[in-house]
Symmetry: C2
Subunit: 453 residues, 2 copies
Amino acid sequence: MADTKIFLSESEMPQAWYNINPDLPAPLMPPLNPATNEPLGPEALAPLFPMALIMQEVSMEPWIEIPDDIMRIYKLWRPSPLHRAFALEEELGTPARIYYKNESVSPAGSHKPNTAVAQAYYNKQEGVNRITTETGAGQWGSALSLAGALFDIEIRVYMVRISYDQKPYRRLLMQTWGGECIPSPSDLTNAGRTILANDPDSPGSLGIAISEAVEEAAGREDTKYSLGSVLNHVLLHQTVTGLELKKQLAIAGEKPDMMIGCVGGGSNFAGFCFPFVKDKLDGQDIQIIATEPTACPTLTRAPYRYDFGDNAQMTPLLKMHTLGHSFVPPPIHAGGLRYHGDAPLVSLLVSQKVIEAHAFHQNEVFEAAITWARSEGHLPAPETAHAIRAAIDEALKCKETGEEKCIVIAYSGHGHFDLASYDAYLSGNLIDYPLPQEMIDEAMKSVPEVPEQ
Amino acid sequence: MADTKIFLSESEMPQAWYNINPDLPAPLMPPLNPATNEPLGPEALAPLFPMALIMQEVSMEPWIEIPDDIMRIYKLWRPSPLHRAFALEEELGTPARIYYKNESVSPAGSHKPNTAVAQAYYNKQEGVNRITTETGAGQWGSALSLAGALFDIEIRVYMVRISYDQKPYRRLLMQTWGGECIPSPSDLTNAGRTILANDPDSPGSLGIAISEAVEEAAGREDTKYSLGSVLNHVLLHQTVTGLELKKQLAIAGEKPDMMIGCVGGGSNFAGFCFPFVKDKLDGQDIQIIATEPTACPTLTRAPYRYDFGDNAQMTPLLKMHTLGHSFVPPPIHAGGLRYHGDAPLVSLLVSQKVIEAHAFHQNEVFEAAITWARSEGHLPAPETAHAIRAAIDEALKCKETGEEKCIVIAYSGHGHFDLASYDAYLSGNLIDYPLPQEMIDEAMKSVPEVPEQ
């Protein structure tokens, strides 16, 4: 019998990240200055990011070497295992072969530290000892707090107040790693004070938290800002997962027929599949499937347009699938999939039909999560369970057709801090949100008109 | 540079558990019938356990083969990695080489599934479709619920009411795996009803929960009982960890100078070190150190006596280090280390001075946990952090003496469900409990007088 898990040795770890930019089937549209609609030069980002990351953001080099100090920290948990989901296959009675690349083994429990550690390193290299960021449910804030502890960088996380109050465990995780966690809106920034003046009980939003983190970093010499998804350099760092996966599948003697991941901003999905996109463009028959919630259907129902990355219109304009930066998704439990847009790189590949997308309701997603937990044992994050839902559906189709497809899942994180959402599902209190077209139309009014580039 | 992690391939996994019984330096005293003070025959346990487990309990075979169906499930997460704690070594500036065997990678987050899966298997083999057990903080209840899901066995867990109310996450974990979780005392058993009649608001205790689980299993034809530590067969199943570790250390070219684990009932510690005890008895110089809380100092301050395994005096008498079965430890956060006794096998080896023991206060333990989390990244369980505290102390001694000792830690579990206790530490609200001798003397009055065997 084949192995249930395929490990790489540390010497087999990729030594460089893969930059998809030179291999794209169409040019990536540049970020625009919203005041002029002109492409934004790298120097415009210098107040927020260290120069090394800005250069990665625009690099056309196909490979970017991973520095030794980052490799050293990756090895605290990497290379991550590739599992064959024999138990799930048996449970489903499918002839499909199902694999999953397990990023839940990181200290923060998800793929997020792959870029958090890299970003902390490059900041430290340029003398930065203080970083601000925002977090919704807390996955990113905890990953950056971990990276801050490892590189001795002070981390301040603006956490959406309603999550701060409702999800104390992730806040405590940040604090355990020494991160400072501020409920947003706060009275520490103009953006926060403005909101509080209008609504002292504001529950906050990711848009407000971004504004606070960016405002503070822009206004302080000693402080930079860090983002956990969407941008090119973030996706670049995540390719360590797909590159490991490629070697592991080769060891297993497999070529993937289907690769399935979930997309919020798109970084875990990109890291997982980008090294295979080139194979597909070169003619290999791989179906690459992005999954998302029906409650926030950016890839399945939103147009490909220039829009702001945040609700408060503080960011450059990015060409992406967007529901409109004023879009506020229903309160689904997959907090990491509630972003109004998507990474420009992922959006481009969806618009080019290299990647396809499917949306799921949360009850069917949690049903899949339970099937998984009771066969494979491990408890997936609600975000990850979207990919599991799609994989189970495809495996059941194989059962009907008899096809022995090789299906690979991006297992982006565990659900240890999401048990309240499992409780809601098991007790029948989980609500599905079919999204009325009028709600999208209304939010799309916030998208600025930009002349064809 | 040496690897940070040493993985075994699945083909290198041990094919049999190691039974220390034939290698003991002194005979293990048998369990006694409390009514007669006579040794208890295997048949007396038949209402509670399947015969295969009872036979393992008394076996003198040095190796017991691991059935294929258990191996198949072990491979969902095993072999578990051995890590070199380079980052901690650097943080401490020690010449010691520190390793940790990482059992936190199991779906339930600890070593507990190693025996839960085995026990579920042997029950299923003998046609048992329903098992009761008790749980304090929830580690064991969740591991057995997982095993129940994998072998399609109904699991009912009596959970100490105060934990049931205060630790909803572990209860939800059990339910996610399909386990039924009943707050104890309950009105489902005579034991529970008696307590509730006297005190309708009883917070419960492990002793009461054991009584309820045992009473139900003893009274129902279709139901057996399962215990998560203390008994010989439980420790036997855990040796899979120490056997893997032995191969991994050989790959690293190491022989351990010190092996350090934490002891509640003793099962994770035994599994970790028993395969090395024989080496020590054969003359190898290994220091084997059990750690425990000063608030429940069974190995460091309690005598080696026959006593009941539970507060309600329903179990046989076991020869062990015991603080007295009426002992109620202070409410420390390492819930898994609050048992009044210890496994008879571990107790024997401590009494024979093969194993030494050290006790720690919880503030120094959490200080070590934070040092660990901020260097190694991973967040240890409070129980595990006792072993980390001892290892850091020993590594700092090496820094003074210049000794390059090889120190191996039993990393028994993660602390993802224990963040409230980290919060208590970080906010300065954690209380240390030096235990007055009078409290031990008082509890020791509950230990029965048994004639010398």
